[in-house]
């Protein structure tokens, strides 16, 4: 009887310990989200819906204005980044999983993963040198390419893991039916691995919406005009937050908080939509 008590107590103790430690680990995240909600919320409430489409204010003005050009730029950058990055990540992952013994697959796999190690500012400088300088101007497309390079290894890793974790019996069943590799891939494997693929897309979108460094020397910024073309400069929310938070002016701090809230909402929105649309796989 006594022994059992001890075991139950230990079990309870361990359970609560895990909960407490997890809470401590999550505290900074809660803190960040709460302060964004509080500060950003008050800005957005003050500015109203026009916060989404107005240009940012002058430091002299009392009107908060908005983040229209930056918001539009971030959405555009997210879209192009996924359009460029996802096929690259997906087919590299397929190559690595389906042809694991080919030299090119190994080489590409190592190369892609090693991109994680490169500081993102260097990727920005790389794109600046090979694209912005020859073109003679900053552009949305240069920013999207920099973001795609930054998010590529993350997307690749997720998709590769998802494809690699498909049980062998399903693979054998697919090939046993006489399906060709592409058919098996698109009709069977992608369905099974869809959650992992979605996780890959999500992390790609997160990188595309949140990274500042790759954009510093690529997109140029454009706060007074919305969209002039893919080959023209554009703005992005992280860039706006980065610049505005450094100034000593309250009105800029308010806009930066509001922008952080919008960024959080965009990401949560995309996250929730994709997760809801793609149901869990039951094997």
């Amino acid at each position: 009887m006594k022994r059992l008590d001890r075991r139950i107590i230990m079990d309870r103790f361990f359970k609560y310990l895990v909960i407490v430690i997890s809470l401590i680990a999550l505290m900074p995240l809660f803190y960040i989200i709460t302060s964004i909600l509080v500060h950003g919320g008050s800005t957005v409430l003050k500015a109203g819906i026009s916060f989404l489409y107005e240009p940012p204010p002058s430091p002299l003005s009392t009107n908060v204005g908005g983040i229209g050009p930056s918001l539009l730029g971030t959405i555009l950058l997210m879209t192009i980044t996924i359009i460029i990055g996802l096929p690259l990540a997906f087919f590299t992952a397929v190559l690595a999983v389906e042809y694991p013994n080919s030299i090119i697959a190994k080489f590409v796999g190592i190369l892609t993963r090693s991109f994680i190690e490169i500081p993102t500012i260097l990727i920005g400088v790389l794109v600046y040198t090979i694209m912005v300088l020859p073109m003679g101007r900053f552009s949305a497309i240069a920013g999207a390419i920099a973001l795609a390079l930054v998010s590529l290894p993350y997307m690749y890793t997720h998709i590769e893991n998802a494809l690699a974790s498909i049980p062998w019996i399903y693979r054998e069943a697919a090939y046993g039916l006489g399906l060709t590799k592409p058919k098996a891939l698109f009709h069977i494997f992608m369905g099974i691995a869809r959650r992992g693929i979605v996780a890959g897309i999500l992390i790609g979108l997160a990188k595309a919406s949140g990274e500042t460094a790759p954009l510093l020397f690529t997109i140029g910024g454009s706060r007074h005009s919305y969209f002039q073309g893919l080959d023209k400069p554009i703005d992005a929310i992280p860039l706006l937050i980065y610049e505005f938070a450094q100034t000593p002016y309250n009105i800029y701090h308010e806009v930066a908080w509001g922008a952080a809230l919008i960024l959080l909402l965009i990401y949560l929105g995309v996250f929730a939509t994709l997760r809801l649309l793609v149901k869990k796989v039951e094997l």
């Binding site: 489409y53 204010p57 002058s58 430091p59 002299l60 003005s61 229209g68 050009p69 539009l72 959405i75 555009l76 997210m78 879209t79 996924i82 912005v132 300088l133 003679g136 101007r137 900053f138 698109f186 009709h187 992608m190 369905g191 869809r194 693929i197 979605v198 897309i201 510093l216 020397f217 140029g220 910024g221 454009s222 706060r223 007074h224 005009s225 919305y226 969209f227 002039q228 400069p233 610049e243 938070a245 450094q246 100034t247 000593p248 002016y249 309250n250 800029y252 995309v270 939509t273 994709l274 649309l277 793609v278 149901k279 796989v281």
Partner: protein, 373 residues
């Protein structure tokens, strides 16, 4: 099969939403009229972060008057701004320091430098014993000794000597010395001042954008990244001292020290004292009278400038433009903007910046005649 379609649908939904937003944004900017977009002139500049809020204030007022001109400015730092300007990525550049002599020779006759605004570096401190109504007096020598680590305590006789009224209030506490940890024009101005005011204590080797601070070696030096970093360190550390741009001190209600100028007068930063430094700097003849001249001695002239009422830690910030632009419309738009800055711009000065005095305005306005398109 169905699962694939769901995934496909998710992607399509995302792309559609994005596209709709893009079109919606396009509609907002053009307001349906395509021909007005064709006549629009876009000017692009980048450079000094110091200039960014003030330029933004000017640009927004200017654009109210000139609806067909759009000016974008990105605060990337003076160095990056110069590089982007000379590589042809931008139409103009914002820079705190003027061009070095070598750079100026390289682009002689092609580039124009316009001092557009004045700024000041202020000495801030956090000593609770000193009443808010009183400003601590400091001199170049004492500051140099503090940043060398040789003055250790707030109640040092050399500080007391400058502040007889505060002598009994200064605490026997160690001075925590805050400086910039990143390369900075603010550090350049501050160390130039220390060297000019106390050359024996602060040698020329310790002047520059990044300094190997002597006070760090005695363990009382603290680095802060950017003006916000130094400001936060001074606010959060009792008995600290630091140097920041004026706007950060004003906006964060930091206590500002009065600094002894060349004539031996303790002055606080204000529009009058900062402009006085600029006026007296002009009299030294180190500053050219035309924007196509060589401004490389300018900092030397304005820091620790003569004049009883001159604030010694004053500096210009500049806009660089080309003398010739291929695009006539761009040249014309820039001329209008420069003219506007020097005529109406002084009405829209934000806190922490000071308009250039009339004498400087007449130099800048010459650019309007010099620019060709």
């Amino acid at each position: 099969m169905i699962r694939n379609k769901v995934l496909g649908a998710a992607i399509i939904v995302f792309v559609v939403v994005a596209t709709v937003l893009i079109i919606y944004g396009l509609g907002l900017v053009q307001g349906g009229s395509v021909e007005s977009l064709n006549k629009m002139v876009h000017l692009r500049g980048s450079g000094a972060t110091f200039l960014q809020p003030q330029l933004e204030a000017w640009v927004q007022e200017f654009m109210k008057e000139y609806g067909n001109i759009v000016i974008e400015y990105q605060g990337v730092g003076s160095g990056a701004g110069q590089e982007q300007f000379f590589k042809g990525l931008t139409d103009f550049c914002g820079s705190d320091p003027p061009l070095s002599h070598e750079k100026w020779l390289e682009y002689k006759g092609k580039v124009l430098q316009l001092p557009v605004i004045l700024g000041a570096v202020v000495i801030v401190y956090n000593v609770p014993e000193i009443p808010k109504s009183v400003h601590l007096n400091l001199s170049g020598e004492v500051l140099a000794l503090i940043y060398k680590g040789e003055i250790e305590y707030w109640d040092d006789p050399r500080i007391k000597e400058l502040n007889p009224g505060l002598a009994d209030k200064l605490p026997h506490e160690e001075i925590i010395v805050v400086h910039r940890s990143d390369a900075s024009g603010t550090t350049q101005i501050f160390t130039t001042f220390l060297h000019k005011a106390a050359p024996e204590i602060w040698p020329i080797e310790l002047v520059g954008k990044t300094i190997d601070w002597p006070v760090d070696k005695v363990g009382r030096g603290v680095g802060g990244k950017g003006n916000p970093g130094v400001t936060a360190n001074v606010i959060n550390t009792k008995y600290s001292i630091g140097y920041v741009e004026l706007a950060y001190a004003l906006k964060n209600n930091l206590t500002i020290a009065a600094i002894r100028n060349r004539e031996g007068v303790f002055v606080l930063p204000s529009t009058e004292t900062i402009q006085s430094a600029a006026k007296h700097a002009l009299k030294t003849k180190l500053i050219p009278i035309s924007p196509d001249g060589d401004f490389c001695k300018e900092l030397d002239a304005i820091v620790y400038a003569p004049g009883k009422n001159s604030y010694p830690l004053t500096a210009f910030s500049h806009i660089f433009v080309w003398k010739t632009y291929e695009d006539k419309a761009k040249a014309e738009a820039l001329k209008r903007f420069i003219e506007w800055i020097y005529t109406k711009g002084s009405k829209y000065i934000i806190e922490g910046y000071v308009a250039v005095p009339e004498e400087i305005k007449s130099i800048g306005l010459k650019a309007v005649e010099l620019i060709e398109g």
